[in-house]
Symmetry: C2
Subunit: 257 residues, 2 copies
Amino acid sequence: MGYELYYWPIQGRGEFARLILEDAGADWVDVCRARGGMAKMQAILDGARPELLPFAPPFLHADNFWLAQSALIASFLGERLGLAPESESQRLVARTIMLTIADLMNEVHDTHHPLSVDKTYEKQRAAAAERATGFRTSRLAKFTDYLERNLERAGTGVLVGNAVSYVDLAAFQIVEGLRYAFPRAFAAHATKLPRLIALHDTIAMRPRIAAYLASERRIPFDETGIFRHYPALDDPAPKPKRKPAKARAKARAASRR
Amino acid sequence: MGYELYYWPIQGRGEFARLILEDAGADWVDVCRARGGMAKMQAILDGARPELLPFAPPFLHADNFWLAQSALIASFLGERLGLAPESESQRLVARTIMLTIADLMNEVHDTHHPLSVDKTYEKQRAAAAERATGFRTSRLAKFTDYLERNLERAGTGVLVGNAVSYVDLAAFQIVEGLRYAFPRAFAAHATKLPRLIALHDTIAMRPRIAAYLASERRIPFDETGIFRHYPALDDPAPKPKRKPAKARAKARAASRR
């Protein structure tokens, strides 16, 4: 039997699992994108499976295992599908990094939902602008520098051990998401993240990942997910520089012709 | 060798680990409460250990293992110290519940820090009041009902399997914390949580937990932790009921004497 992933039809917190399943060439189903999937997911949230009562999607079914929580699902899949370090000590480090990436996802979510998870972004714009400013000026750098420093620590081009693991796929997704949601703020800091950008590019070229990204199985980013692009929450556009007086006079003269 | 727990000298996210270590009677050190511990923790945050570069406390050292993230530390300790289910499927369910409890901790934290993790509560009081209202009226019930329903699902008086595990100790801590931080809001909902309250009371009576709670090793709750009691963030005090007109006249007459 293959893997059943239960998650909304957005990238969101389900995308870590999708990238692992795709990179491993696993037999899997994205339940909510199949006919009747949403109702099936809702039934399990309502208690239809005695094995697990999930708090929220994503959750995963594999053989006789049922589990929820995006970071746990990622570690479980990575360790089963050959995308994790072998040693117990390195597996614990990988799980630690994966959970820290999940924390970053929470903080990205809170940039557009700082006051209430139950109200829309449009109902909390002012607070979102304030929270996003703190994210851009402090937290974005703290989290991405953490990944950069871990790459430096490992010294092998990957985050843990010496082969690509599920945390590297997750780091790829973080770069994709930050570039989508905060294009200016991320670009301004990315010059300090050469190892992370190189890792991102390495992952993007893996044949199964490249095929997945080019397929319609990859759901596009949009403003219903975790990574949302609201220009008001990104760095402001740089003001166009005023031309020197001489150039202004020349432009005025030219416009008169 | 025993266990070294690195965490600030507050309950916070370190308390899940402390409760497990105490209940198991483990040989352990609360590093930051020993002389020179804070400097030792800072050195590791700055990269002194090649095994692990933590994002933030808590982190744990055990034999040749180094790991961070409160939920991962709790699962690791519970599974090593005989406070976890035996089967892999139930271990995954326990890890899922532990991570959901860690999510609740994040939402409790955000009631007093909705706009910025870098600014004090006093600088974000109005936003905190709004976020706390949503927490009290929606999220508190959603999370505690989740625990209650899992107790009902298991049908054994504990959250997973048929013996007390680390997630039950964590659920105990959640009840303690919510009672401290939101005494009115929690009391109003607790009538719907008979199984969770019974579990709390069972855990409190375990001999090593009772001894720990009575000792000075248990750090008191205060307003530097995650569970903070700010009356402005809890339910408002009920207004004293106006006495009926007859009683008021009687009281007036009495006061004239």
